[in-house]
């Protein structure tokens, strides 16, 4: 591997640790009664309030339509994901150490697979959260689900929900893109070398 690509892979691996400093995803809830803002930050290992006590407020609002309370301690993914991301980062360093393109390809496949699995899991979690409603809820609207979007906005009764990646999420995508660039760059330059030799 070229030195430049090695450096890029070091960067790609290191920035993955940023997910412990910045949220992966953000969900903002806009409603007339909340001029001060309301929302949650989803981290690799936790779900936190945008403003103090927002989680309690959201849970309280959601109990009227029978949604389950968000309890970060009872979300197993939040316990697994930190190890997954550390695994990917360490795997990245191993790729650099062994300087092996097959390993690099393996790393990218694993990384992409895990990213897809993460997003899918997030979607399923949101689906369950929005559809699996308490049948005794005070407010029931036939045919309506309350699933927040994975990405983008949706109006759910009085609340306009907007989901978008946080800085942590953006850095994960950036890390993946750097990895893909390095692989593509390596393939092209090796083909060039072969042509020159030929």
């Amino acid at each position: 591997m070229k030195l430049k690509n090695k450096i890029l892979l070091v960067v790609a691996s290191i920035i993955l640790f940023a997910v412990f400093l910045f949220p992966l995803w953000k969900i903002h809830l806009d409603a007339p009664q909340y001029p001060e803002g309301l929302g949650v930050n989803i981290w690799i290992h936790n779900i936190t309030a945008l403003h103090p006590h927002n989680l309690e407020t959201i849970n309280d609002l959601n109990h009227y339509i029978g949604m389950k309370a968000i309890e970060p301690d009872s979300v197993p993914e939040l316990k697994i994901m930190p190890y997954a991301i550390i695994f990917i980062a360490v795997f990245g360093f191993i790729v650099i150490l062994f300087n092996n393109r097959i390993l690099l390809t393996g790393w990218l496949v694993t990384f992409t697979g895990m990213a897809i699995a993460g997003i899918t899991d997030f979607y399923l979690w949101l689906y369950d959260y929005g559809h699996n409603l308490n049948p005794n809820a005070a407010i029931k609207i036939p045919g309506m689900s309350f699933q927040p979007p994975v990405f983008g906005s949706r109006q759910l009764l009085n609340i306009h929900v907007t989901s978008f990646p946080g800085l942590g999420g953006i850095l994960v995508v950036l890390s993946l893109l750097i990895g893909i660039y390095v692989l593509v760059n390596e393939i092209i330059s090796s083909k060039k070398r072969k042509l020159q030799k030929g």
Partner: protein
């Protein structure tokens, strides 16, 4: 007659004809002179926008303090202070009841007069507001982070406490005074059961300096000074050069005890009492004067639990004028002065000589010279009287009739209110020359310029606090709100820009810039910090506990239910303590609590807070209770039942929510 003069005569004649016609036509609909072309936009605060100033107005006989936005005149809130307030349960709940304790017992009402914000370096600092109760001598401290009364201290040896609650430049002291002199117990006086006609011999006035803790704001009586039995009416601490002094007007130097309107208005001159409080403080620290026994209440919200408690003050140090040589003087003032106000630099001391035709303005520099030169005209009970002519800076001529109060702007102007001629008069502070006058409707008492009693007035707005309302608003029967008038004083001429009605009878007001207060507001209380002894933090912790005939209900409220909401096993003859904790942690989600037939007020419970009310059910039955604050779409459903059984029944104590007992 020249043509010019002839034309002028016609011209003037024409004007007088127009004026006469105008007057004859009885222009009742247009008697107010509205100052500017665009007064409406000056006071218009668009929906969702905030006012520039908070105005804290004493409520007079409302016993409370009302808060308005300036320039809009919008009523923002009423702070319960000396009056029981069923609106939120202040003075009724177990947490707040003790604030209204006095040595006479629980007094459910007060007469608030002078609102005084705390100061640092002679400027408002936005920490606290102090206000006095004239009737039962008390001073209250309001915290500006919560807009709540946190402390009330009763003042001993005092009657009719009017000349209060003035604040020194760095909030070292709050000053309280006797207006109605009274006989004092031995050894201070000759006993309290004396003939009223022995007023001159047996009655006394006192000045009290209340020490304020700089960190907590907690008040304590520093010391008192016994003074001759005049009526000490108003006061102000000095500023800048005069900041070590405090000044009080007094009338009734005649020492009358009956028909004062005549008998206390005989002498041509009364007095201003000037005290160097720094020296007096030193005299007290040096152990001068005597410690006397008193019995007054000091009520404080415990900073830890938020629950008010009463302590009895048993001793106070009292100084006599003889202990204060060189630190206490009388300054003569024209007949029965009322207000006294010190200019921003501390040099000028203006009195509203309410029965005088002039406003006398005294010079602090001249006063100090007179003290040095011993320029006196005798003494009264050991208090030297300085010579009027020696200390006078100037008298404001043509200041109107019945001048009561003076305030200052940031441009070197002074403004006085006139009760009798019903106007505001503006004059130059250096010369006393009248620059402008404007009618006020009707009979202005206090007036306030934003920051007008600080070293750096904000200026811009002046409010006339009028005593008579009559036809200014839609009529509401014989009893009406007081009417205030807002003036724009930024130009050469005062412009009347708004009338607004206010509750009670504000005797004085103070304007603080919004930015000094709005950023530090408490929005809700942290449940995790709640140290009320009866707090219930989660629904899981709710319980009902019987101890003999006392039953304690530990209840939670959250949208939209109480836990427990069904209670059985209460019996006639029980005393039920209902401790309700609002476990919400969100801005502006209070819950209310009301119990059918409870001989007590309802209560409003802020998020994160616990409030307790006592209920003594009298008859068997099922009693509904409910939330009184429309908290959510299912607010109506926020209700519950308590079953009360006969005293001898064997119904077991049981409780819960969403289950059959």
């Amino acid at each position: 007659m020249s043509i010019k003069k002839y034309l002028k005569t016609i011209y003037m004649g024409g004007i007088s004809l127009i004026v006469t016609a105008y007057m004859i036509s009885g222009c009742t609909s247009q008697k107010t002179k509205i100052g500017g072309g665009d007064a409406a936009s000056e006071v218009y605060v668009a929906p969702g926008k905030h006012d520039e100033f908070y105005s804290f107005m004493s409520g007079g006989w409302s016993g409370n303090v009302s808060v308005y936005g300036i320039p809009s005149g919008r009523h923002l809130y009423t702070i319960p202070v000396f009056s029981q307030t069923p609106t939120n349960g202040y003075g009724y709940t177990e947490e707040t009841k003790a604030l209204l304790n006095t040595s006479f017992g629980m007094v459910p009402w007060g007469d608030t007069h002078h609102v005084q914000p705390s100061k640092t370096n002679g400027e408002y600092d936005g920490r606290w507001v102090f206000v006095n109760d004239r009737n039962t001598p008390r001073i209250a401290r309001i915290d500006l982070k919560t807009f709540r009364t946190d402390e009330i201290i009763e003042i001993p040896n005092t009657g009719g406490q009017h000349a209060s609650a003035f604040c020194s430049s760095n909030t070292e002291y709050i000053s309280a005074n006797t207006e109605y002199s009274i006989p004092l117990p031995k050894p201070l006086g000759s006993g309290v059961d004396v003939p009223i006609s022995s007023y001159k011999k047996n009655f006394h006035g006192t000045i009290s300096l209340i020490k304020v803790d700089q960190n907590t704001g907690e008040m304590n009586i520093g010391f008192q000074i016994e003074v001759p039995p005049f009526d000490y009416d108003l006061g102000r601490f000095g500023l800048g050069v005069s900041k070590d002094w405090v000044f009080y007007t007094c009338y009734n130097s005649e020492e009358a005890h009956t028909l004062l309107e005549v008998n206390a208005s005989q002498k041509d001159k009364d007095f201003v009492l000037a005290v160097n409080w720094k020296k007096a403080e030193q005299a007290a620290a040096d152990g001068k004067g005597q410690i006397v026994s008193v019995n007054v209440d000091h009520n404080l919200r415990d900073p830890e639990t938020g629950v008010a408690k009463t302590e009895v003050i048993k001793q106070v140090r009292v100084l006599k004028p003889s202990d204060l040589t060189g630190a206490i003087y009388y300054m003569p003032a024209p007949k029965s002065p009322h207000g006294i106000n010190v200019s921003p630099d501390g040099e000028y001391i203006a009195e509203g000589g309410k029965l005088s035709t002039v406003v006398p303005v005294e010079s602090f520099t001249k006063m100090q010279q007179a003290i040095q030169n011993n320029d006196t005209t005798g003494s009264l009970e050991g208090i030297p009287i300085l010579k009027y002519e020696s200390i006078l800076a100037y008298e404001v001529k043509n200041a109107g009739l019945g001048p009561l109060h003076v305030e200052y702007d940031d441009q070197g102007h002074a403004y006085n209110s006139d009760f009798i001629s019903s106007e505001i008069v503006k004059w130059d502070l250096k010369t006393g020359k009248v620059l402008d006058r404007h009618p006020a409707y009707y009979s202005t008492g206090h007036l306030t310029v934003a920051g007008g009693d600080t070293r750096h007035p904000y200026g811009k707005y002046l409010i006339a606090l009028n005593k008579i309302t009559k036809d200014r608003y839609l009529p509401t029967g014989p009893e009406m709100f007081a009417g205030e008038q807002l003036f724009d004083i930024s130009g050469d001429k005062m412009k009347l820009i708004l009338d607004f009605p206010v509750e009670g009878e504000p005797h004085n007001a103070a304007e603080l810039p919004a930015s000094l207060i709005d950023t530090g507001q408490v929005k809700y209380f942290k449940l995790s910090d709640n140290r009320n002894p009866y707090v219930t933090r989660t629904e899981h912790d709710t319980k009902v506990v019987r101890d003999g005939k006392r039953v304690d209900v530990y209840m939670t409220a959250i949208r939209s239910h109480f836990t427990p909401d069904n209670i059985e096993g209460i019996k006639v003859g029980d005393t039920v303590y209902l401790h309700v904790t609002n476990i919400e942690q969100e801005w502006d989600i209070p819950h209310g609590f009301a119990m059918k037939g409870n001989l007590n007020s309802g209560m409003l419970i802020m998020p994160g807070e616990t409030r307790s009310t006592i209920w003594k059910p009298q008859n068997p039955g099922v009693y509904p209770f409910y939330c009184t604050d429309f908290c959510s779409a299912l607010h109506q459903e926020m209700q519950g039942y308590v079953r009360v059984s006969p005293a001898n029944s064997d119904v077991k104590l049981a409780y819960g929510t969403n289950k059959d007992l």
